[in-house]
């Protein structure tokens, strides 16, 4: 074998891509030629450095959650068709809208206490901050049996963490945040490209409050109070789907409680 042939074949030799007799020819040439041997050594050192040094990335949980969420959407792969909504969901969502319209909204507009205004500002700030890289969750998990116990001992309440994957709202994780002067639980769900933050903390006022909606800076905020717990959900998701999410959350809450 000539040096020029060896030069052409040495990469395939290192990669084990030559036929057995070609492999043997290169090996024999390397044994007799110092220059080609040198080229071979440099090549071996280079591929070893690359193989050992280059990072194999793991797909982040948020990406997995987003993909699972998209796969659970019946309209993901039929973009032309009118998305068929499950009728019971529509009923539940409608129920929330009616409840909000009949009581929650009036309450919210008639007496907007200072604490409420502060909570709105803080909840929105927390949501926006959570969207910065690395701030979304302290515990990233799609399993509610990891997320729920994580809050134990960190907070004086155990937030509701139902699995809503089947409805297209995969769990992403949880974190602790500060809202209106005290630590609160933030449980994070996904919906396609959107993130939903659900905040909860013990309420000072024990009376129940139906969901009331507000919009600020392109985000929807929904506030309600249930069983002595203040609840907020914030997302840039459209309002109908956010209400659908809250209906599902409340429904699973009443069955687990």
């Amino acid at each position: 074998m000539r040096c020029a042939d060896c030069h052409d074949a040495v990469n395939a030799f290192v990669d084990g891509e030559l036929l057995a007799d070609e492999q043997r020819d290169v090996r024999e040439h390397l044994a007799t030629c110092a220059d080609c041997r040198r080229e071979h050594e440099v090549l071996v050192a280079t591929t070893r450095t690359l193989k050992e040094g280059l990072v194999r990335h793991r797909a982040p949980d948020v990406l997995k959650a987003r993909i699972r969420s998209a796969l659970a959407q019946p309209d993901t792969f039929a973009p032309a068709a009118d998305p068929p909504r499950r009728s019971w969901m529509r009923l539940v969502a409608a129920g929330v809208v009616i409840a909000a319209a009949s009581s929650g909204l009036t309450v919210a507009t008639l007496r907007q206490p200072f604490a409420q205004q502060r909570a709105t500002t803080d909840v929105l700030a927390s949501h926006i901050r959570s969207l910065m890289p690395g701030h979304l969750v302290d515990i990233a998990s799609t399993d509610q049996h990891n997320v729920k116990p994580w809050f134990n001992g960190r907070l004086d309440l155990s937030p509701t963490v139902p699995r809503l994957d089947s409805l297209g709202f995969p769990l992403i994780g949880g974190r602790i945040d500060y809202v209106a002067g005290h630590p609160v639980a933030a449980v994070v769900y996904g919906r396609r490209q959107h993130v939903i933050n659900v905040f909860s903390w013990p309420a000072a006022d024990a009376s129940a409050l139906a969901p009331s909606t507000s919009a600020e800076k392109g985000y929807h905020l929904v506030h309600w109070r249930n069983a002595g717990i203040e609840m907020w959900a914030v997302s840039d998701l459209n309002l109908a789907e956010l209400q659908q999410f809250i209906a599902a959350l409340e429904r699973s809450d009443s069955t687990t409680r």
Binding site: L50, H57, I67
Partner: protein, 174 residues
């Protein structure tokens, strides 16, 4: 598409998500862009899933991811990453709490990542497919859409550049 097909897709294609994300990270050099493009690529893959018969599901998915990355780059052509991860690298190297060996290891790794990031795309993709993903020449030729001879010559040229950038081709004194 029936639920059964979606389940088959999840079983056959989703196990290769880490490989898909790795390729996108190296091609786009940005973790958020990589996430968006991989999500788009996976949903495209699902739409084309009828066209997938039997064979190498990983190479099939990587082909789609690669095409989505190149399309994305054409659409967002900007050289905002002339120096890919500058601050982070300097911060890591100067972190005095680390032991010397670990610091050297980290800085070597950072230099390596940077040298690879600065390769032209056509070299970077064959290097990542071969050295990180471990694909055969035949698989690389399918993913990139070039003959096997071209795979070999591109790999050779890319490695030569890297050896030189990393100082591995310097003739020893002996």
């Amino acid at each position: 598409m029936a639920q059964r097909d979606v389940e088959r897709f999840e079983r056959i294609v989703l196990p290769h998500l880490d490989d898909a994300y790795t390729l996108a990270r190296y091609l786009l050099r940005d973790e958020h862009d990589a996430q968006d493009v991989v999500q788009d690529a996976v949903l495209r893959a699902l739409r084309y899933f009828d066209g997938y018969r039997e064979g190498d599901a990983r190479a099939w998915l990587l082909t789609i991811v690669r095409n989505c990355c190149l399309t994305w780059q054409r659409r967002h052509r900007s050289d905002r990453l002339a120096v890919p991860f500058g601050d982070e690298v300097i911060e890591r190297i100067s972190d005095s709490r680390e032991t010397d060996t670990r610091a050297i290891e980290r800085s070597e790794r950072a230099v390596l990542e940077r040298v690879v990031a600065e390769l032209p795309t056509e070299f970077r993709e064959v290097i990542v497919l071969r050295e990180v993903e471990g694909l055969s020449y035949k698989e690389i030729s399918e993913v990139v859409g070039i003959p096997m001879g071209t795979v070999m010559s591109r790999l050779a040229r890319a490695r030569k550049r890297l050896a030189s950038a990393l100082g591995l081709d310097v003739r020893e004194a002996s």
